[in-house]
Symmetry: C2
Subunit: 351 residues, 2 copies
């Protein structure tokens, strides 16, 4: 039996404000080169290029980003342009409906993560494949390396096959104490939002657990229009779709849910601190990107896409200059960039 066709389904719905001011809603994180000369989106496409049995990728994206996706990906992909943002479950429903006839498997991936060890990722997919053929909804869980409080966790159950477990339960983003406990115990992995399942199996789970969502997505695809190679689901029909994440809407409710634990150099690059951790550094532990200069400084992330930024005599700072915005924060506080974004509307002259 030939390997089942796997269609990479790349979700590009995020607006990435945690990496403001580089990432902005009109040009979010996934379309920016943060960790390599390639953008996060290009890296995502690249890591499925050599996939055994891999079909042309399908991208589900904000209609506002159609142009930049074509520019970065070329014409060789299927593009579903969401008329409105409804979180991940409806986005994946649209993709599953587009692939229903072929009954391809969907390899669902965010468009803005780093996976340093692509062979490990591909090996994890191979471990998942027999389960998917047997109707399981598979999630990939990242072996934790730190007591992260910014991710959901998955408590693993019994081993179903070599390197594949049942899911005991999904754990909400924990506090620091709980995160440390889960790191100390084995059997807990990070929920990275990467999934593999058959199109019809996912749609069947939706029919059981989210019938209204499925009905709205199906109506939107039935009335979809085309714009070149892009599919535009009907806006009125899709507006009826409930908004929910795949975790809440499906994975926590469905019966045959498995998890493949994997170590693959994964990062969601979810903050400037995370980018600092990933970045190449000089002998003083400074990560310098663009017109960035450090003098008697150490442990700094300095990034500029425009003006020259010079840090003198400071430690452990994050300095990001992009366009007409500059933000400066201590390392370890990069989640506070949201406070800077929130304050934008209070500026004098803001309309």
């Amino acid at each position: 039996m030939p390997a089942q066709i796997i269609t990479p389904v790349i979700l590009s719905g995020g607006s990435g404000t945690r990496l403001w001011p580089v990432s902005r809603s009109e040009h979010p994180k996934q379309f920016i080169a943060l960790t390599a000369p390639e953008t996060m989106f290009e890296l995502t496409l690249g890591r499925v290029a050599g996939l055994e049995g891999g079909a042309t990728p399908l991208v589900v994206a904000n209609a506002a980003h159609a142009e930049i996706i074509r520019k970065q990906a070329g014409p060789e992909l299927t593009l579903i342009l969401e008329p409105s943002a409804r979180n991940t479950a409806p986005a994946i429903a649209l993709a599953a409906l587009a692939l229903e006839e072929s009954d391809s498997a969907l390899l669902v991936m965010p468009s803005d993560h780093v996976i340093a060890d692509v062979p490990a990722f591909h090996a994890a997919i191979e471990r998942a494949r027999p389960l998917v053929a047997d109707g399981w909804l598979v999630t990939f869980g990242i072996e934790p390396t730190a007591p992260e409080t910014g991710f959901g966790y998955i408590a693993l159950g019994n081993e179903l096959a070599a390197g594949v477990n049942t899911v005991s339960r999904f754990v909400e983003k924990p506090d620091a104490t709980r995160a440390a406990q889960m790191l100390a115990q084995s059997g807990h992995v990070w929920n990275a939002g990467i999934f593999l399942f058959g199109a019809r199996d996912f749609l069947a789970a939706l029919a059981t657990h989210q019938p209204a969502m499925l009905a709205a997505a199906r109506a939107a695809m039935a009335a979809a229009t085309r714009q070149g190679a892009a599919i535009l689901p009907d806006a009125v029909a899709f507006a009826q779709c409930p908004s929910d994440s795949i975790d809440y809407a499906v994975m926590e409710r469905a019966d045959k849910v498995a998890c493949v634990p994997v170590s693959m150099g994964w990062s969601d690059v979810g903050s400037w601190d995370a980018l600092y951790d990933l970045a190449d550094k000089d002998e003083a532990d400074n990560a310098l990107q663009g017109a960035a200069y450090a003098i008697d400084a150490n442990g700094c992330l300095i990034r500029s896409d425009g003006p020259a930024v010079t840090v003198v005599g400071a430690e452990d700072l994050i300095v990001i200059a992009s366009g007409d915005e500059i933000v400066i924060l201590p390392r370890g506080r990069s989640q506070d960039v949201r406070k800077a974004v929130a304050a934008l509307s209070e500026r004098p002259g803001h309309s």
Copy 2:
């Protein structure tokens, strides 16, 4: 006897790199609004506007700055444009020669200092006036308020008249220990580079102690050309002039040197730290100038003439954005801005 005519002689030779990147050689500190809506040069002109017996000010400046001086000062001044920079003694020699015939007194002042208490300054000038009439070269010494190591000091001698002392000696910029000692002892004042003396008395002192300097300056003025209201000393003649400060060349050598100690809210605004000290601050001790925003930050000086700068969660930082340059340093280390300036030439693409 009417009060002697006093001609304010404003020295505008500095390039002000300690306030880089706002202050640059083509547009140095004295022509920038740092502490008030007016530029330092405008403030300097303003504080002699109401001076008893004050004549039209005379400005000695770099020829490259003629245009900006006319713009900021208007036509109501005498302008000597130096063909080359020769430090303060030759610059003052040019002014004294221009005023030799009238035998005005010269009130020599840098163009880039702050004096908050102008009445105290004018009162100090009044104390000096009888000594000047008697042929003394008078310097104004600032009562120290901190153990500053960035200034020269003057050790006061006997009282010559109420509020006027002889000079015991000039003290080079001290180390921290010596500065603390001088602050603890009374009788030491900061040398602020502000002087009052008769034109002919200064020229006589030059003739005694710096005959080559006087000869070169006199030759340069004898062969000067005019450009509108500006006097252009002859470049070839002035190039022969030794370069030296008025302190070294004259004040430390001449016989009749007096000092008027004064407290007048003086600052040389010689660093970003000094500007922070002078600036208005918000309730979190942040000094915000231009498009500058502080969130959960305190004790920061943030100044921008262009991009929006937001500091989140940091303490005691100096952040200066000007043109295409941004510099960031901890407060207390602003003298290190010179390291950033020195590193400019090492940047990639620098020719």
